[in-house]
Symmetry: C2
Subunit: 533 residues, 2 copies
């Protein structure tokens, strides 16, 4: 009992507030052992002060809380699922393996059943049944999340959208696409490009991630600077609520002010309030001309000045302004054998333009490049207009995450800060950690003020971890930043929410959860902190 | 009792669902007469079938419901307010007049007190007191709404944001503005233009409307096509909840995925869930070049083809594509003495470009104009690049609403439809009404699929109204449109919500209202329908 001094669960009696029930879940867990929850990432348990701010396990706020008293899946349940989804109720442990572990292989669940419905009605029947039986459910898209949000923590039933991959409609006048939640982002991109449109979002995981998962996690990615967030581009959603009711908000209108915009509740709530089954989204025209420039800067200050100059001179054709530091480049060369196309620099920039007139775009880009080269803001650079070369330059930015996985163990932080502060955190962290870390690297979306801070060590190192956290969160909070800019909170970051949100806001989130999912069956242990007071 | 056969109110006992309490409120109302509610717009009461779909008063779903049993303002209450807001507690009936009636002079309340706090703390103390005393409150910004959402229906206390007009901060690197809710949109525009930025929204009412009201109503306006909706550009809000608690979500980050995005609840909920006291908003750079073209088309089909061509050729510099029909032009000439700058046509288009390179923009615009003139899509046109001429061309679109007010009585509809359908509704309505209406005119935002359908008669005409409604809503619903694209529902449209939203969605809205404002004191009788089942 020493380890988890407090735990919280959704109260069944109150629909308004989560209530903290000390010891109750622990007692249940103890009775129902063995629980097979295993957080590979976190295993050290130290005796430190119980901090209310950091939730159930103050020594290790990312660790899984005790299993909540959900029912266990019985043979009778399996019979129900098999009758409902013949051939699509998976219980073979080998087939379940990849769905029980996240992409980073840091969170390991132990679910015994994976359901693969094809229709909204199927999802509805599953949730109605699970809600009645008090069975917990983990909705899963492409399972590419980085915060342990898309895998079970214990034995939650995995509800996969992988067979829900139909495009319902595309209107080539308005550019509005309507499709099922399980469509893979890259497949949608190909579908649209054939029709002279593009998706308003793009990210490294596009080959696997599902649009439903993108919406559930409010994915940002590489095009946010230009096309804005999913909160603006998603026009409609169909969602199945915890009790199986289908909420049809699948509008295909650019403007609709009839009542509260319910779909916003489900964007970014990581499957904890409902399961998204279909999406309608506003897609931009495919640009007639795309150019990518890869530039080098000798300081972050020069990089920022280049960004300012770029926004002024490229204006409406600027579609991405990304950066990586020299340490990232070293890892790309070392592990992925990618070649640095320019001379070595402390900082590299990827600039993309997308416009409707190739001549105009090239002229703007060349004027900009001339300006930043003659003023010595940029020390070297290369430009690509041809698709293969564009892809090669982009891969230098997109494959940093992959390169890092070869380094041993990676501690990942996804931070929003005022743009002029983003690299200060990397430099300060290097000073702070001294020789403890193998690498402290920074890359990300300058245009959005979004830093991906990654710290590597040969293997898991809890002394290193203790030096990073909560230091990184305190640093972020001090500058009124966000401790999760685009990755979400999932399992790993849930208890750090108070560094970015006041307690009144978190309490209200708990009320919303309790209203929509009173039994708490949807993606438990995710997003919201263990203790909401 | 015949008139209002059912009425609903927020249940005090349940936080989960609105409950329908037949007759209860009626009884209270009868005891507490005189109630001075007067809906100027609607006075006819006919004996028709009670339609559940259309709420409390099926003959006249826009009419005010009976007064709910809120407390009446006492001398003791006034003493409290005067101590809290010395000199800013207005009870002089002459001074209250303009705050009791909407801009269109169609909804008339009878509030006896107008409060003008300067700070969030002031708003908090007012709401805490009103919630405890069960006093209803009508939040009011610039009072420019068109659906009766910003004026009291009975004796609700008017809580004005007019003295909350401070700019807190502007970051000229990120373009993020943070200000109080009562800042007038045009003042913010001037403030930003001096700093080489612009507001991401612009609308005809800019000289009076408040940014807090814009956000509360999710105002669309003229720049939505380019800069997207407030759901994407508003980065943070500070909101005072019904019980006086301050919810600080005033982030200034472009990306933040830490938990549910609570601010979205308050965008577009018309002050029924909380009072917005401060806003942070992402502002675009001021474009270096602006051009406006005013064109004529001989059919709506040609107008649509011009739109398609325009999107392709102007691409990223297109910032507005608006239209008005010949009837609108006649009214502009007749009542406002504006001059049509081109030859007479059935349809007129206002196209605005905004870009970073004047030469490129002019070249794109000229190429586009050459294309649409030589292909005869457009019959005549004029272009302005100079500010005064740009303003003059824009006024032809912006002042249509004003011209209509001179026509006698106007029935206003703000409809979203698939863009190729928007003028069909105008033509069909003309056929349907025959000689009953004086004018049936259409104008609006083609780029957003948003039609402003306006029907005039010399004076209020209930036979005409009965011919328009619910016909117009049924027509819209048949094409899966929105019965309120950007104006909101307010008092006038609240009971028509079911034409655009399924009952499950409306019930969930009721649950959210009950959770955040269990006594229902915030802007009662607005947004949600009288009967939620």
């Amino acid at each position: 009992m020493g380890l988890f001094q407090k735990c919280s669960r959704l109260s069944l009696r109150s629909s308004y507030m989560w209530s903290v029930c000390p010891q109750y879940s622990i007692a249940v867990t103890a009775r129902e052992t063995p629980d097979r929850a295993l957080i590979v990432h976190w295993t050290q348990h130290r005796d430190v002060h119980n901090s209310r701010r950091l939730g159930a396990n103050p020594a290790n706020p990312s660790a899984a809380p005790p299993r909540l008293p959900f029912s266990r899946v019985t043979q009778e349940d399996l019979s129900f699922f098999r009758a409902l989804l013949p051939g699509r109720t998976i219980t073979d442990p080998d087939l379940l393996k990849s769905s029980n572990v996240d992409w980073l292989k840091t969170v390991q669940g132990s679910s015994d059943v994976l359901l693969r419905p094809k229709t909204t009605e199927g999802v509805s029947q599953i949730l109605r049944y699970c809600n009645e039986r008090n069975l917990a459910v983990c909705p899963q898209g492409g399972n590419t999340g980085l915060v342990g949000g898309s895998v079970p923590v214990f034995d939650e039933i995995i509800l996969s959208t992988s067979l829900m991959n139909q495009v319902f409609a595309f209107d080539n006048i308005s550019g509005i696409l309507t499709c099922q939640a399980g469509c893979v982002l890259e497949n949608l991109s190909h579908y649209l490009e054939e029709r002279d449109f593009i998706m308003p979002l793009d990210l490294g995981a596009k080959g696997s991630c599902h649009i439903g998962g993108n919406v559930s996690t409010n994915a940002g990615g590489l095009r946010l600077l230009r096309y804005g967030s999913l909160r603006g581009t998603v026009l409609g959603l169909e969602v199945v609520l915890a009790d199986g009711h289908v909420l049809n908000c699948l509008a295909t209108l650019r403007k609709d002010n009839t009542g509260y915009d319910l779909k916003q509740l489900f964007i970014g709530s990581e499957g904890t309030l409902g399961v998204i089954t279909a999406v309608s989204i506003l897609c931009p025209r495919k640009p007639k001309a795309v150019n990518v420039a890869f530039l080098g800067c000798s300081s972050f200050q020069q990089l920022l000045e280049t960004f300012q100059c770029c926004r002024g001179m490229l204006g409406e054709i600027l579609s991405a302004f990304e950066f990586l530091d020299a340490s990232c480049m070293n890892l790309l060369e070392k592990h992925l054998k990618l070649t640095n196309p320019i001379t070595e620099c402390p900082f590299y920039i990827v600039i993309e333009t997308a416009g409707s007139n190739a001549t105009h775009d090239e002229e703007k880009l060349h004027q900009f490049l001339e300006e930043v080269m003659t003023s010595s803001l940029v020390t070297d650079g290369t430009v690509a207009t041809e698709a293969t070369k564009i892809k090669a330059l982009w891969s230098l930015r997109e494959r940093v995450t992959e390169a890092l996985t070869h380094e041993g163990y990676t501690y990942k932080y996804d931070i929003s800060l005022p743009v002029e502060k983003i690299y200060d955190l990397v430099q300060d962290m290097r000073r702070h950690l001294g020789g403890m870390a193998k690498n402290v690297v920074g890359y990300g979306h300058v245009g959005d003020g979004n830093l991906h801070l990654n710290i590597t060590s040969p293997s898991k190192d809890f002394d290193l971890l203790a030096a990073i956290e909560p230091y990184v969160y305190e640093w972020t909070s001090q500058w009124k930043g966000s401790i999760s800019a685009e990755h979400g909170l999932g399992l790993k970051k849930r208890n750090y929410i108070y560094y970015s949100k006041p307690s009144e806001a978190v309490a209200l989130m708990g009320s919303i959860k309790a209203m929509l999912d009173p039994k708490g069956i949807l993606n438990p242990y995710k997003t919201l902190p263990d203790n909401i007071n």
